[in-house]
């Protein structure tokens, strides 16, 4: 019954979790800016979003072991994207200025990516807030 109301919300929540995941990857890159031999990581947001959307809700729900009932009507927990052990999603970012100690973190690029991702995260949040407000006013009919 509520599916048409919440379908878009699910899309935004997937996007938000991917953004949070990327934020974490970028934070690790910045934290390891001085570690010898560290290889900077990143992933393509569009590709990741496509793969998440193509998985379908039942696969996503199965990623979390707790609260998986035998009956379809049992209560389920929704999976969090970052907990899915999908190492393939994280790739290595392109190196621009190689350094002697094998570290491939380009700090300027990482900072720019970090800020960009933070803004995208916040705009996704605003989309969610706007959607909730729209749906609430549709329900109340005022």
């Amino acid at each position: 019954m509520f599916e048409p109301l919440t379908r878009r919300l699910e899309f935004f929540s997937d996007a938000l979790q991917l953004r949070a995941h990327r934020q974490q990857v970028l934070a690790s890159n910045i934290a390891n800016a001085d570690t010898p031999g560290f290889v900077a990581r990143d992933f393509d947001f569009r590709q990741a979003m496509d793969s998440v959307r193509s998985r379908g809700p039942e696969l996503r729900a199965g990623a979390m072991p707790v609260l998986t009932g035998g009956d379809a009507r049992h209560l389920r927990t929704s999976a969090t994207l970052a907990d899915v052990p999908d190492r393939n999603r994280v790739q290595y970012s392109v190196q621009t200025q190689p350094s002697l100690d094998g570290n491939t973190v380009d700090l300027d690029q990482q900072r720019a990516n970090f800020i960009h991702n933070a803004v995208q995260y916040e705009s996704t949040l605003r989309f969610i807030n706007g959607h909730v407000r729209t749906m609430l006013s549709a329900i109340q009919g005022q």
Binding site: I30, N32, P36
Partner: protein, 135 residues
Amino acid sequence: MSMFTIFSVSGSAISAQSQRLNTVASNLANADAVAGPDGQAYRARQVVFQTVPMGNNPASQGVRVQDVIESQVPNRRVFNPQHPNADGEGYVTHSNVNPVEEMVNMISASRSYQNNVEVMNTAKHLLLRTLQMGQ
């Protein structure tokens, strides 16, 4: 909530960088130290960083100080027979600290520290905004 591990990742980086600043401080403090009666002068210390996984998520990688090593550069020897710590040939052994190198190291450590504080501030801001979702 995966964003909370950003605090532990950046926190580990901050503590590693502050340890690096600490070694810079002791190196600079001992830059002009001379060898005592045993002939052993101060040797510059350097931290060695290492990536360490945080939490169960492969995406979050923190930092830790794996080791503190002593520089193997030969100590500076100055001819000064009047010095009370001069050896039999009249040379005084100084520490092998290079102050210019240490200053550069200090600036780099302080910038990295600031970067990580900035990361934590951004993560905190985003989490606070997430708390207000739907209001």
